[in-house]
Each structure stands twice: as structure tokens, then as C-alpha cells.
């Protein structure tokens, strides 16, 4: 059976040609995390209550392959000596272990934005916590879909 037109991914999914990762809609903080991820978050929280906002997590809504998922994290901050992001923590809710990365920033960074590529073993939430120089804490989480491919994964 031959196709007269050839549907391409962009056609099929209606994606813009010049698009990169999209900003994921945050998952409500009340949704339960795995025990391991919750423990990791609690260690960072250290009894502080995380606030919402300020953190933007960019990732593909559906990962082409769970082995290499590009992410960009931006945190709103003037990055001055008096007011800057000190650490950004990334956790994966359902990976074999929740730790993904901790970024250590200084005012010399000028902007709180980091990019890397991560491994996700299945569809799950990626959790980001940002610690500020004044001791305040921000948190966001969003789901990245990881599928089992048809061609042997």
C-alpha cells in the first residue's frame, strides 16, 4: 500500500517547524511523589515550605528516547550578590533513584539558566527545586512522557 502524500512527524503532530522543547504545564504540588523522590525533596526542603513560580522547566512533552531528554531550567532572579539562586536541584519521580543533578550558581552567572540532557526510565514527573540566597525555596514539577518504542524501544 503506497502513500501518495507522506505524513511527517510535524504534519502528524501539527508542531511548528521551528519549535524546540515546550514549557511544560506544572503538575499540582499536592499530587503524591514516590517515597524516594519525596525523601529527596524533603532533604532539600529542610522544613521550608516551597513556593510556586519563578522556575520554568522546558522539556519535550514526549521524549523521543528516554535515554537522552534535553531539559532547560530557568529561574527568575536578578543574580546579584544580595539576591541570587544558590542551588537548583533536579529529581525524577520514578527513576530507579530520584537524584538527577544539583547545579551550584553564583552571582557571576548573571542569569539562572542551565541546560543538560537527562535519562528518564518511564513517563514521570521531573521535579525542580531552586534555593535562593535569602533562604527561600521554590519548586515546580512537570510530566515528561517516555514511551516504549515499537522498534525494540
Amino acid at each position: 500500500m503506497l502513500h501518495t502524500g507522506h505524513p511527517t512527524r510535524r504534519g502528524v503532530l501539527g508542531l511548528a517547524a521551528a519549535g524546540a522543547a515546550i514549557v511544560l504545564a506544572p503538575v499540582p504540588a499536592s499530587a503524591t511523589l514516590s517515597a524516594a523522590a519525596q525523601a529527596a525533596v524533603d532533604r532539600v526542603r529542610n522544613n521550608r515550605t516551597p513556593q510556586e513560580g519563578r522556575i520554568v522547566l522546558r522539556a519535550p512533552p514526549i521524549a523521543e528516547n528516554g535515554n537522552t531528554v534535553p531539559i532547560t531550567i530557568s529561574v527568575e532572579s536578578p543574580m546579584t550578590a544580595a539576591d541570587h539562586v544558590t542551588r537548583i536541584h533536579v529529581f525524577a519521580d520514578k527513576n530507579p533513584t530520584p537524584d538527577v543533578a544539583t547545579f551550584h550558581l553564583t552571582p557571576a552567572c548573571g542569569r539562572a539558566q542551565v541546560d543538560t540532557r537527562i535519562r528518564l526510565s518511564q513517563t514521570q514527573d521531573v521535579i525542580v527545586l531552586a534555593e535562593m540566597s535569602d533562604g527561600s525555596l521554590y519548586m515546580t514539577r512537570a510530566e515528561v512522557k517516555v514511551t516504549i518504542g515499537g522498534c525494540g524501544g
Binding site: T97, A101, F103, H104, T106, A108, C109, D115, R119
Partner: protein, 110 residues
């Protein structure tokens, strides 16, 4: 024997003006063995990852990253830096065994 840390690549923009916030991109060849995989005989392949990346400017650490096995092989790390004066960068990748590899790069202002 720990897996080798390959020759890292670092990219700074070509033209940098004083006061500009630039993106610094790095890529290094490394298998980032998670410790979750098994070999043909069923034995666990031991964890062997780059666990730390550090960027120093004129001897001061300006950015660092702690990596877990959940960072993909051939780790890509990009971060931002406010270029206020020219100087020397030193980037260092360190693995689980404590071995490290560094590259230096001059930051010049246009």
C-alpha cells in the same frame, strides 16, 4: 579501571561585550554507566560516571554541577556567565574514581 573521560569541548560565543551575559556550552565524551545495567552473564555493570563539573574563572568557582547516573551519556552542560572582564576559565570534569580532566579557555572581550 574507570572509563576514560574523553577530550571535552567547550564553546564560548565569538564576540563578547563587557557586561554581557553569555552562554557557555560544554560536551564531553563519557559512557555514564548507571550501575543499573547487567552484562551477558547477568552481573551488574558497576556504576562509573562523571560526578562533578566545575567552572572556575580566574581561580574562583563560578558554577558547578553534581551529576547523578540520570545524566545522559556524553554529558551536555550549558550555563550562563556575566562577562565583566577578560580572564582565564578552567573547566574540570571529575569521575567517581576521583580522576579529573580539565580544559582552559581564555575569555576575551570585544
Amino acid at each position: 579501571m574507570a572509563s576514560p573521560i574523553g577530550q571535552p569541548r567547550v564553546r564560548l560565543p565569538a564576540q563578547i561585550r563587557a557586561g554581557e551575559v553569555i552562554e557557555i556550552r560544554t560536551l564531553v565524551s563519557h559512557v555514564m554507566e548507571t550501575g543499573q545495567r547487567r552484562d551477558q552473564s547477568g552481573a551488574v555493570i558497576p556504576r562509573d560516571i562523571i560526578r562533578r563539573f566545575e567552572a572556575k574563572f580566574e581561580g574562583q568557582t563560578v558554577f558547578a554541577m553534581d551529576l547523578a547516573p540520570a545524566i545522559s551519556a556524553n554529558p551536555y552542560i550549558a550555563f550562563q556567565f556575566k562577562a565583566e572582564r577578560p580572564g582565564r576559565f578552567e573547566f574540570t570534569w571529575t569521575n567517581d574514581a576521583g580522576e579529573s580532566r580539565s580544559v582552559t579557555q581564555e575569555l576575551k572581550l570585544a
